[in-house]
Symmetry: C2
């Protein structure tokens, strides 16, 4: 999660909400990404989607069953869907997202429905640090 | 929807499930895409995500409030999430997807929860044609 937080901080350079993700297989980080929505001007460019796409390319396989994705914020519907579609092995996330989180907050796409893949999840890991950089980001925004 | 079906047929060239999408603004098609999951070896490369990304690039704006997306199949969680994130104006889809559809079949992400965007939806448009090319594709697969 520390590595995902490092990624999150990179998003600040392009005025993007600081959210980061890393993908780990066999104890090794195989992909890193941060939110690039503003940088790319693309609402699908969330950290998780970009990290999954990189991992997929690295492994030359869209089936990510043996990997763990670490994300600093609870994933939205799109990102949870991307994890289901990619058959991700495990998700570990930092802060909870009461407004858009789809792994327990607004809903739990992994548990509430019978999609063709379910995966292990763990939320709230380093949630204070992961949440703080986001609230700090919005505090700064409001000052401007 | 006829144009989306044309797109869907292109997916057959790379042995991808034939699903197509077009994005329309002011009566003009601004983006077209088809499912490229197998071609790109990437489970996030659904027709809708690729079409949204192209539309976003074309308009140089991730906010797609005034556009309609036509898709041949009911969108999955990831694609519905991408539409919420992109503030899409309207969704029109063809066949229903009982196993993975998130616009009325398995769930309705647009209506069941309070996300920060809701949009108009219409399902079942040219559903026979849109569904048939998919069932034909799987029939052929099973023969092999």
């Amino acid at each position: 999660m520390k590595e995902a937080l490092k990624e999150a901080k990179k998003a600040l350079l392009t005025d993007d909400v600081p959210i980061g993700a890393v993908v780990v297989k066999d104890g090794v980080i195989i992909a890193r990404a941060h939110n690039e929505k503003e940088k790319r001007n693309d609402a699908t460019a969330h950290a998780e989607v970009l990290a999954i796409r990189k991992a997929t390319k690295k492994l030359n396989n869209w089936w990510l069953e043996d990997v763990t994705i670490y994300v600093t914020l609870e994933p939205c519907a799109m990102c949870m869907g991307a994890m289901i579609n990619s058959r991700i092995g495990r998700l570990v996330f930092g802060a909870w997202d009461a407004k858009g989180g789809c792994c327990g907050s607004v809903c739990d796409l992994n548990k509430d429905y019978k999609f063709n893949h379910k995966f292990e999840t763990l939320g709230g890991v380093m949630q204070d640090e992961c949440g703080k950089i986001i609230t700090d980001f919005f505090k700064e925004k409001r000052k401007k």
